[in-house]
Amino acid sequence: MGNYIIRRLILLVPTLFFVTVIVFSMIRLIPGTVVDVLMSELINGGGGSEGGVTPDRALLEQKMGLDVPIHIQYAHWISDIILHGDLGDSLRSQRSVTELMAPKIPVTLELGIMALLLAMVISLPLGVYSAIRQDTGSDYIFRSIAIALIAVPSFWIATMVMVFPSIWWHWTPSTEYIALTHDPWGNIRMLLIPSAILGTSMAGSTMRMTRTMMLEVLRQDYIRTAWAKGLRERVVVLRHALKNAFIPVITIVGMQLPILVGGAVIIEQIFVLPGMGRLMLESINKRDYTLVSGINLLMAVFVLLANLIVDATYGFLDPRIRYR
């Protein structure tokens, strides 16, 4: 187990290297570079703070560190990150990227965790029930619900949640952010609807996965033995089948994390939550590309680590899996 984690950590290095290369080159290699975009924006007078000053391409490139060959740029950029944890300065405000991101992280994290929990609370029992009552009416209903949860886009659900309660009962979900430290209960209450919507698609796929895995396990010999021993259904399902069925489900949940993080962008935008997603959209609208790449890097590293943890738990939960 320990060896396995060490090996995974070593494999993490090349992956992380390519993650940084992608983030780095995204801004610099795509046709119509960021400098071009910024230049044309400044010339067309959309610049804002620099208003009136003729844009100086060389100065702009120097400011972004683009005036040296690309591998040296990368070396500068990566050594700043590794040695100082410094993701560079925002192009628009003169603050550092890490400083801008820090207050936003907990909001998105909380939203994500709540979405995850809500999705699990709904999907796991329904998935299990669907499996043990396969091909009955309730199975069909739950399966249809699961497919609908995947198919209906979260931004549409969010819009409908805003529209109909307001028409019928003159009530709209609050879009005023309450900090967790300020009023924990109010914070959780206000995040409940956004996180439930964020969790819909994950709930749907987890429900389907749970059902499939449960069916697979229920067909195995040791379950037949358990039945033959005359155990009650509750015991067979809860004590014998559930543990084994849940293991692959955890992997699926881990694989869905990137989707969850991506979905947070939309939900934060709709419910005006001051999280990473909104910061992301703001920085893109302001063409603040150092900030954009900082966010991308952080998100990717988060997903990478989350997947590692999921894989490690996998071995921990299932003693049959021996990592060498």
């Binding site: 992956t15 995204m26 795509i30 990717a300």
Partner: protein, 326 residues
């Protein structure tokens, strides 16, 4: 499910005569009612997209300021928007965008995944190791976030969207192709081919590609719903299809959201259309996967017993139908 227990020899003969796709279609109609519904929804989408000009009662951006924000009526079935454009026509033209982006991006994504996954799986070794780390790295990025970043640099537009969705989907999809190729290349006929000195490119084209058609079809049908949904999400956030072009996602943002209380029909119809299409396409995708790949099936049978037996027959049949030609 009863047809599943037909004599194997008969089935083998039958599937030999028909091309993969025709056989797939016939079995879809016979065995998968939900998949068939999905297929019909998909065909309706295609039909609506192709004949949008003929189907839409009003022209694409026909503005009628006298009929602004009309609720659904006999004349405007789905109501009108803030400048008096007919919502029904907008939704119909939106189908065209979804259809084009969905099909084109998914096709590109297949090409990219074959281009990456096939050499990676076939040659293996250091090349594979490096390519797979790059794929790993790419898959760490939360989909929407990297897509928004790239789209903001490329600028909104349909072609940019297709290219970005296609390439980014293709990188992830290359995993599936790679594992299919790795499974294939141990086959004796590949070794024989190498032994008689067939050029590698010819082996890839003559022997590998025809044999990975099943995973390719599965990828296409499973993935297209996600692509349509992602296009809508990007357009919703304003990084997808630029406004004058009606796209379902775009219609739900901007004015659709501003006026959603006064004119809820502006937000209802595009979202409903989108949900139904994604639902249908997903059902079709699931059915296609079940028909083509027995290993990924969502299980038939309850607690073992009689139905498990049927499943075994089905498995046999599927294996047979999966071997194309010789």
């Amino acid at each position: 499910m009863v047809e599943g227990v037909a004599p194997v020899s008969n089935l083998a003969e039958r599937s030999k005569k028909r091309p993969l796709l025709v056989d797939l279609l016939i079995r879809l109609v016979k065995e998968k009612p939900l998949g068939l519904i999905g297929g019909i929804i998909f065909l309706v989408l295609l039909f609506t997209g192709i004949f949008a000009n003929q189907l839409a009662p009003h022209a694409m951006n026909e503005v009628n300021l006298l009929a602004r924000l009309q609720p659904p009526s006999v004349h405007y079935w789905f109501g009108t928007d803030t400048v008096g454009r007919d919502m029904l026509s907008q939704v119909i033209y939106g189908a065209r965008v979804s259809m084009i982006v969905g099909m084109a991006a998914m096709s590109l994504s297949i090409i990219v995944s074959v281009a990456i996954g096939m050499p990676s799986g076939f040659f293996g070794g250091t090349f594979d190791l490096i390519v797979q780390r790059i794929v790993d790295a790419w898959m760490c990025f939360p989909g929407l976030i990297i897509l928004i970043s790239v789209m903001s640099i490329l600028g909104p537009g349909m072609w940019q969207m297709i290219i970005v969705l296609g390439i980014s989907g293709g990188i992830g999809g290359s995993r599936i192709i790679r594992s299919a190729v790795i499974g294939l290349k141990e086959n004796i006929y590949i070794t024989a081919s190498v032994a008689v000195g067939t050029p590698t490119l010819k082996i890839l084209i003559r022997h590998i590609i025809p044999n990975i058609l099943a995973p390719i079809i599965i990828m296409f049908s499973i993935g297209i719903g996600g692509v349509i949904l992602t296009e809508a999400s990007l357009s919703f956030l304003g990084y997808g299809i630029p406004p004058p072009q009606p796209s379902w996602g775009g219609m739900l943002s901007g004015l659709g959201r501003e006026f959603m209380i006064q004119a809820p029909w502006m937000a209802i119809w595009p979202g409903l259309a989108l949900s139904i299409v994604v639902f249908g396409v997903n059902m079709l995708g699931d059915a296609v996967r079940d028909l083509l790949d027995p290993r990924l099936r969502g299980g038939v049978g309850r607690y073992g017993g009689v139905k498990t037996k049927i499943k075994k027959h089905e498995l046999d049949r599927r294996v047979i139908t999966k071997v194309p030609g010789n």
